[in-house]
């Protein structure tokens, strides 16, 4: 029963699936295991913060208990969200307010704002936690913000419709992907200038570095592929196509990408294909496709990397994937159009 549920494809168009159905379809033992874990695992309890694009709110979720704790009102159309490396502050792009809110991660009060440029959506924080890099999609710019000064340091001209952006863990690179130019731009954070560009598959969407900063993974929304780039040569070393049985190609729109800290596996959210692709990070083979909620966009690991959290835009929930068993264990309804997710240990 559980197997049919995970690989079935009829589910893809059902918009009205109530939450309760999940619980009955997931094996009762798994539910029991999670519930019992909630009692013993309070010490390592982590908190998820999910931006709700259409509710102008932030959902606060206890993923161990599998519960929505509360929803906090925030600015207009919140999308991108990151947490500071010291876990004290959340940064949330409120796109229609043209700003990035600074939110105290304990009190959830807005404590400041950062000048983001127009319509901020996606942004990245560097490993040191002192700079934000924001994509300004309509203006073909990347805005560099000094967090302490709350000032724009520089605006860098990039290709048309910049979207995905990420900073390498070793602080050597900031990479921006422009969706219509079909390039990734390699920005040196010391000089804030582009030093190299790599032409990639159409509509590059999201980017992720491996923990050793040696590889950059790039998803192409339109070709339905994942490209692995070697950071030293900045060349594509592998292109991985996705093919989900029973799902048409135009529904396979790879978005969010994350790679675990040991470079054992990477995970790619496939958008309206309602799947997360599991990729062997050594052989680059696709190991499986896990069925999650609808229009899965962004991904985040739990701090111990035992779980993966997904935001599912049109089913208004998040899915929780247990990474040891590689199974989707739970979904939690959070509100309208969950977009981004950040995890606080």
């Amino acid at each position: 029963m559980r197997n049919t549920f995970v690989s079935g494809n009829a589910y893809g168009t059902d918009l009205s699936r109530p939450l309760a159905q999940w619980a009955t379809k997931v094996a009762p033992t798994a539910v029991f295991a999670i519930l019992s874990m909630a009692f013993v695992a309070n010490a390592q309890a982590e908190t998820l913060f999910v931006t709700l694009e259409k509710d102008n709110a932030l959902a606060v979720v206890d993923p161990i208990a599998g519960k929505l704790i509360k929803t906090v009102g925030i600015g207009q159309r919140p999308r991108g969200i990151v947490i500071s490396p010291d876990n004290k502050f959340l940064y949330v792009a409120t796109s229609d307010d043209n700003t990035i809110q600074i939110i105290d991660a304990e009190t959830l009060k807005v404590v400041g704002q950062l000048p983001s440029g127009d319509d901020p959506e996606t942004f990245a924080i560097n490993a040191a936690g002192d700079r934000l890099y924001v994509s300004n999609e309509d203006d073909s710019l990347v805005t560099v913000i000094d967090i302490a000064d709350k000032k724009v340091v520089k605006q860098i001209k990039v290709g048309v419709e910049p979207e995905g952006i990420t900073a390498s863990p070793d602080n050597r690179w900031v990479v921006s992907a422009s969706e219509t130019t079909n390039m990734v731009h390699w920005i040196d954070p010391k000089t804030n200038t582009i030093v190299e560009n790599t032409l990639v598959d159409p509509r590059p969407r999201s980017l992720g570095f491996t923990a050793d900063s040696q590889q950059l993974w790039v998803t192409s929304e339109m070709a339905g592929t994942l490209m692995v780039l070697d950071v030293n040569t900045k060349q594509i070393i592998k292109t991985i196509p996705f093919d989900v049985q029973g799902v048409t190609r135009d529904k396979i729109q790879p978005v969010g990408v994350v790679i675990d800290k040991d470079s054992k596996r990477g995970y790619v959210a496939l958008g309206p294909a309602n799947r997360v692709a599991v990729i062997n990070a050594q052989t680059f083979e696709v190991e499986s496709y896990l069925l999650v909620g609808q229009r899965v966009w962004n991904l985040a690991f739990s701090p111990d990397q035992k779980r993966l959290y997904t935001t599912n835009g049109t089913s208004n929930d998040i899915s929780i994937i247990d990474l040891d068993s590689q199974k989707v264990t739970k979904s939690v309804g959070v509100g309208n159009y969950p977009w981004g997710v950040a995890v606080k240990p």
């Binding site: 290709g159 048309v160 130019t181 390039m183 032409l199 598959d201 509509r203 339109m222 070709a223 729109q253």
Partner: protein, 397 residues
Amino acid sequence: MRSINLSLQFTIKFLFIIHLLSVNFVYAGSKQTINIAYLTQEQKVPPPMSNLDAFIKDKGIWGAELATDDNNTTGQFTGQQFVLKKFIVPLDGNVIDTFNKAIGDQYPYVVVNLPSDAINSIADLPAAKQKLLFDVASIDDVLRNEQCRHNVLHLLPNRAMRADALAQYMMKKRWNKWFLVIGATEEDRLFADALRRAAKRFGMKIVEEKTWEHTYDARRTAQSDVAVFSQVDDYDVLVVADEQGRFGEYLEYRTWNARPVIGTQGLIATAWHRTHEQWGSVQIQNRFKEQAGRWMEEQDYAAYLAVRAVGEAATRTQSTEVNRLKAYMLSDAFALQGYKGNPLSFRSWDGQLRQPVLLAAPRSLVAVAPIEGFLHPKTELDTLGYDQAESTCKWSQ
């Protein structure tokens, strides 16, 4: 299953070619310049059909402008510069003269926004032989078949593609019995031909066919005219062919039986629509509106794609040479991002841009064709319009 395998093979081949072309750019050298001409003629303002929609005289131009900006944003990283020069022939001017004298040898790529009958008179000029023309206005099937030209690419979906898109949707809804209503113009008859072809292809039945002979100032009499006109044998859907919108808007809500209206009014088939917001199209809708101060029309979208096609081919080949770019555009490797999900490409047998067709109501996007379930061994996009085996274009000779 076979079709899935073939399409996968095609995908892999396509990706492989893309991969081979992957290049890094650390631009330092001299710039390549790509000159693109945009040729159009001023139009007489037609008598207003309705007070709601003002006549737009500059359809197309803003699309070409936006694409040139986009090309140049990319060009700053690849060392290529795109120059768009507009040639707007006055109402009493002669487009052939302008083409011969003003466009000359300087512009290998010409975006042509002219009525159907002007396209081939330009394409057949000696001065056009070594150029690549982008037709951003015509929807005629004949220009993609018997009257096709080797130096013309067509950006808008032709009538057959539109009719097939509508037919697929009607088939999905099981609206199998059509009442076909045709206007009096030659264009309406051509669209009716395309609809008959689509009905045959998808096993639909035209149970009744009538030409609209009532008044066109139907504001006064529509209620009675349409009720009488539509008392025919039972049908599922009224399919209308009225490209100029002279009477089609009066049909909905006034038919004798309660039936939906589809075709050139009601639910329409179009390359672009203001209700479209999937696949990143919100971004181009916003960028376009900011630049042009109005919504993007079909011809703007077509001109955008034409100039972007030159840009995409120039970026990937790192060339400005017309034969090289044309060969690339017609190859399997070419993939143009058109904000409609699937990558767009040109059909190698007739130069038609293969693309999804939007099915839109005035304030809501209803579906995007090809409708799920219509399969094709190569690409589902070729379930719309003239497939290779059906084409009568012999442009390769």
